[in-house]
Subunit: 324 residues, 2 copies
């Protein structure tokens, strides 16, 4: 069994070895550029880790892992256009460094490249893997569209929100694990279980991210604490607060949401106080815990010795035990 | 054997029968919308026609034909954003009717849907078909990028231009025919020949389009005669004229290109006169004829009785015998 670090190194090398045509430069240079920006390469590492857990040769899963990484970066390139984001991993985004048309078209080409890479799985599992890959890709598009449409809506239900983060983020973890498991020789049943593990873990992780935005330790949490509050982002916390707030809290919360020139520190403190009053943190943690429990229940049902599962379990634990 | 009209009707019905999820509406409604705008459905009809010519059951090629049509419309949706086009087939474009982000994301989802449709070919040819499809898709992206980058360049060579139209337009005709042929049971050799037929025919057709823009009969040619001249579009004619013009013609041509407030009628007449002086029409017709000859040479080498080839030949003839 190989640990996360070793698998990430394999991906790192494989990404470096990816070669694209030199012409036309404005199509292929942006692809090499975004893939060179780094990131933790967790999604492709999950492909390898699942393959490894089922006793497969990780070398045989490298192309599929790259397919997941190229697909993920394609979605980032297009999301950055939609979000008008100036930076990605601290570097200038493709649509800013080149232009928007280049970013649209290079993203399209990456989707094709991701398919080419994924098609290199063995014949015996080709159709199954491509079906998972396309279902995942369609779901990620749906999740992104839900996310964008939520921005312009007054209210979003907690169920709608969970479904959005499931599609936008969680199913790619599930899909990566399932494809890796199939390459490693997993049964359909175990492949389904590891998909559920990834999907539910992804939802729990995203809920944790929402909690950390408000309650995280600024030194340990990578982003600015309160950033979601300042941007009025419809996180699980805000959605639950809008659902349960009555009278004074409801009016106060709405006032802060409507106040576009509020002092940042005051707004974060005031909204956090309303969350505290409504016990939103506890509700969010309960929800997060419920998804984590589902994830680990599926994981425990996978028919593998514990020794084979240790790195996957360790990965899941590390994902969910960030300091508050 | 079925004629073009009958095959187009099959496609028309199949496009109508395509059903997409109702949620999220801003992802799937634009897909149904662009597919409902019509068009001649030539590319998907070519899939069926090639399948039919090789004695295959066209019903078994309908999903692949739809894949080609959905892919083609995905490229149109994204091209329209890049070109800032207000209209597509006389109707409002997706990025104008919804917004740009919707058009980016719905296009992405169409690419996934095209893959899902293409994956429904039989196992025996699955890998071969998906390889053709992805190579074609990558080529189309390359062609679009070359086309965009040519706009900002002073000079483009005739070879570069031919390669651009080959990638942007012609190879999708070749790919559609080749995939249809394989579904119909063609040998690899015949599948390669029909690809060359489509590719070379596509180049000839595009060159004819360049000629018709200047020398077409305004009543028969669908677009405004001289439109390419007015927009300084680097067509085969302009490229050849810039290559061969000397002294007076060269200076005159450059003056008209630089004159952004020229009277339209005067500009078209003057540039056409320079083309006439340089015998550009004859050069372009020779080039077009050379590609048509290559197309028909490949077509004639396909190991099929003439009766099986009649509709494909008729299609090619109809494409290239437009009145000037």
């Amino acid at each position: 069994m190989k640990d996360l670090q070793e698998l990430q190194n394999i991906i790192l090398q494989a990404v470096k070895d990816l070669k694209y045509p030199s012409q036309p430069p404005d199509l292929y240079e942006p692809i090499s550029y975004i893939l060179s920006l780094g990131g933790k390469r967790l999604r492709p590492a999950l492909v390898l880790m699942a393959c490894d857990a089922f006793g497969g040769d990780v070398k045989k899963a490298v192309k599929a892992a790259l397919a997941i990484e190229v697909f993920h970066n394609f979605t980032l390139m297009h999301d950055d256009i939609m979000d008008k984001a100036p930076l990605r991993r601290g570097q200038v985004t493709v649509h800013e460094r080149w232009n928007q048309n280049v970013a649209i078209l290079a993203g399209d080409a990456m989707m094709v490249e991701a398919n080419k890479l994924m098609l290199q799985v063995p014949d015996a599992i080709l159709r199954q893997v491509m079906d998972i890959f396309n279902d995942t890709a369609a779901g990620v598009c749906e999740g992104q569209q839900f996310d964008m449409s939520f921005e312009s809506r007054d209210r979003v239900s907690a169920d709608e929100y969970i479904n959005m983060i499931r599609l936008k983020t969680a199913i790619l973890l599930g899909g990566a694990l399932k494809i890796g498991a199939l390459i490693g020789g997993a049964s359909t049943k175990d492949a389904d279980l590891i998909y559920t593990f990834g999907e539910q873990l992804g939802i729990a992780f995203q809920l944790q991210d929402d909690i950390l935005d408000v309650y995280g330790d600024p030194d340990k949490f990578g982003k600015q604490v309160g950033g979601d509050i300042l941007s009025n982002k419809k996180t699980y916390l805000l959605i639950k607060a809008l659902e349960s707030a009555r009278e004074g809290d409801a009016a106060g919360l709405q006032q802060w949401l409507d106040n576009i020139s509020a002092d940042p520190q005051q707004k974060v403190a005031a909204v956090t106080a309303i969350y505290n009053n409504l016990q939103i943190r506890e509700q969010a943690e309960q929800a997060m815990q419920a998804y984590a429990t589902k994830a680990f229940a599926a994981f425990d049902s996978i028919d593998l010795p514990n020794a084979n599962k240790q790195y996957l379990r360790g990965f899941a634990d590390s994902l969910l035990v960030r300091e508050y």
